[in-house]
């Protein structure tokens, strides 16, 4: 019943959801939604560069996302990383990427594919890259979970316990860049941030501890990826946006339930 490419798509979606969920929790806790936006929008610039230089797209996206994330981290450390500045960077990166892609001569580029993802075109090689990236991100987060969580609560509290908050922040930045690079094929540059933030936010009302929130977010993200894939088949809709729409629907339901429970209790 399931064709091979559907299984590949399902595995790709599941993998990305698995890495994005715990990372997305940190993005939400640290109020870094715009940071995620800017990094993922810059991915398009990476695509253009990689194609222009005839390099693997994954590598180009990873390099540019990493550069962007480090740049923003450095700027925010100097106290000018305001909301507005992040907004400017996020959208400027996207616009520049679109312009750069249009300059590429002789390459027929499916721009839609990079903007919204092309999960049904995931090859076996893509799948290997995606899961290697996912494994790396999950391992990184599991290894640094406690120091990262402490630094998220309060950099000073972490420092007093012998944790270097800047180093933890940098590791998180690295994880974010890897996630963006592997997720671009699945949901596209425009919606990567959504995959980070929405499952985490939807998990919040059901969680009593940070770890529970990460696990619930992973379940919601995974279910949204699989469900979105099926829905996009049934209704012939673009897959990436369908996955994000489903996650958003889960968010609405869970938040309403949480609010109802809050007023009842």
């Amino acid at each position: 019943m399931l064709d091979d490419f559907v299984i590949r798509a399902a595995l790709a979606g599941l993998g990305v959801a698995l890495a994005a969920a715990p990372l997305g929790c940190f993005v939400v806790w640290r109020r870094m939604a715009y940071f995620g936006d800017a990094t993922s929008h810059a991915a398009l610039l990476g695509v253009a560069l990689a194609l222009a230089l005839d390099l693997p797209v994954f590598g180009g996206v990873l390099a540019v996302a990493l550069a962007m994330a480090v740049l923003i981290t450095a700027l925010s450390g100097r106290g000018i990383g305001s909301d507005a500045l992040l907004g400017v960077i996020a959208h400027a990166a996207l616009a520049l990427g679109l312009v750069a892609v249009s300059f590429l001569p002789g390459v027929r580029i499916d721009l839609m594919g990079y903007l919204f993802g092309d999960i049904l075109a995931v090859s076996a090689g893509d799948l290997a890259v995606i899961w290697a990236g996912v494994a790396l991100v999950v391992a990184l987060l599991a290894w640094r979970w406690v120091p990262l969580l402490t630094a998220t609560l309060s950099p000073d509290l972490a420092q007093a316990s012998g944790i270097a908050p800047r180093r933890e922040q940098l590791l998180m930045t690295l994880a974010l860049a890897i996630t963006v690079a592997v997720a671009i094929k699945v949901v596209g540059a425009l919606l990567i941030a959504a995959l980070l933030i929405i499952p985490a936010a939807a998990a919040r009302p059901f969680a009593r501890t940070p770890e529970a929130m990460a696990v619930i977010a992973a379940i919601i993200g995974g279910a949204s990826a699989l469900g979105g894939l099926m829905l996009s088949f049934a209704f012939d809709t673009p897959t990436g946006p369908t996955i994000v729409s489903l996650a958003a629907a889960v968010f609405v339901v869970s938040t309403s339930l949480g609010a109802a429970r809050g007023t009842a209790g």
Partner: protein, 256 residues
């Protein structure tokens, strides 16, 4: 040997010097209070002592393997972060349930390990921060305006708890406050800051020092005496001395 010692410590914030030329040390078991008006560099000094602020000049030396229990001024936990008291107390190192119960008790709290941090009252929250600091079995407890947001009886009872903790654990205590009348009497030594060290010594001596009076007026004398009423203890040798290198940039016209 000093637990923490600074020499000629100068701190800057955004290119602006907030504190200059501080020679400071705190020894085992001492209670030292830092007072000073807003913006006098108190919190910056604490942050430099724990290593969160890189000095613009001078040095900070911490004893090897020093365990610091830090209680910040406040902690804004994002509403999106679910956190039980028990989980918070286990950050960054895990402790047994018995240790956690003991730390909560020592901080003067009932067993609320399973409650959410967001649901605590202001006083409970500060005491949970204290319990977390105690779990590290600190050599030194550092409190930054830990009673902000508490009413006066709440603050007084919080500080009585600190004294009890010091008695039990024998750790040094370094605190910043502008609740002068509550804090000072419990201290072995008071350091008065206003961009530099204005004066330093036993609470009585600092309270009567002209530099201190210029900063805070004389209004706290009565309350200080009141508090001393219930706490009588002896002080070490007179360590009071004045710094006469007053910088003209730091006028003393500020009044409370």
């Amino acid at each position: 040997m000093a637990l923490i010692e600074t020499r000629g410590l100068t701190l800057a914030h955004g290119g602006q010097i907030v504190l200059r030329g501080v020679d400071f040390r705190i020894d085992k078991g001492e209670i030292v209070t830092i007072v000073g008006p807003n913006g006098s560099g108190k919190s910056s000094l604490l942050r430099a002592l724990i290593g969160a602020l890189v000095p613009a000049g001078g040095t900070v030396a911490r004893a090897r393997g020093l365990r610091i229990g830090y209680v910040p001024q406040s902690l804004a936990i994002d509403a999106t972060l679910p956190l039980t008291v028990a989980r918070f107390l286990n950050l960054p190192s895990r402790h047994g349930a018995a240790d956690i119960a003991a730390a909560l008790d020592k901080a003067g709290l009932p067993d609320l390990a399973e409650q959410q941090m967001a649901g605590l009252s202001g006083g409970q929250f500060q005491r949970v921060l204290l319990a977390r600091a105690l779990l590290a079995r600190p050599d030194i407890l550092i409190l930054d305006e830990a009673t902000q947001g508490l009413d006066q009886p709440g603050a007084a009872s919080f500080y009585r708890q600190i004294e009890a903790v010091r008695r039990d654990l024998g750790c040094a205590v370094l605190m910043v406050s502008h609740d002068l009348h509550v804090v000072m009497a419990a201290s072995d030594r008071v350091l008065c800051l206003n961009g530099h060290v204005c004066c330093e010594g036993t609470p009585e001596l600092v309270a009567s020092a002209p530099e201190y009076r210029a900063l805070f007026g004389t209004g706290t004398q009565g309350a200080l005496a009141l508090y001393r009423h219930e706490h009588s203890h002896s002080h070490g040798p007179d360590r009071h001395h004045h710094h006469h290198d007053h910088d003209p940039d730091h006028g003393h016209e500020a009044q409370n």
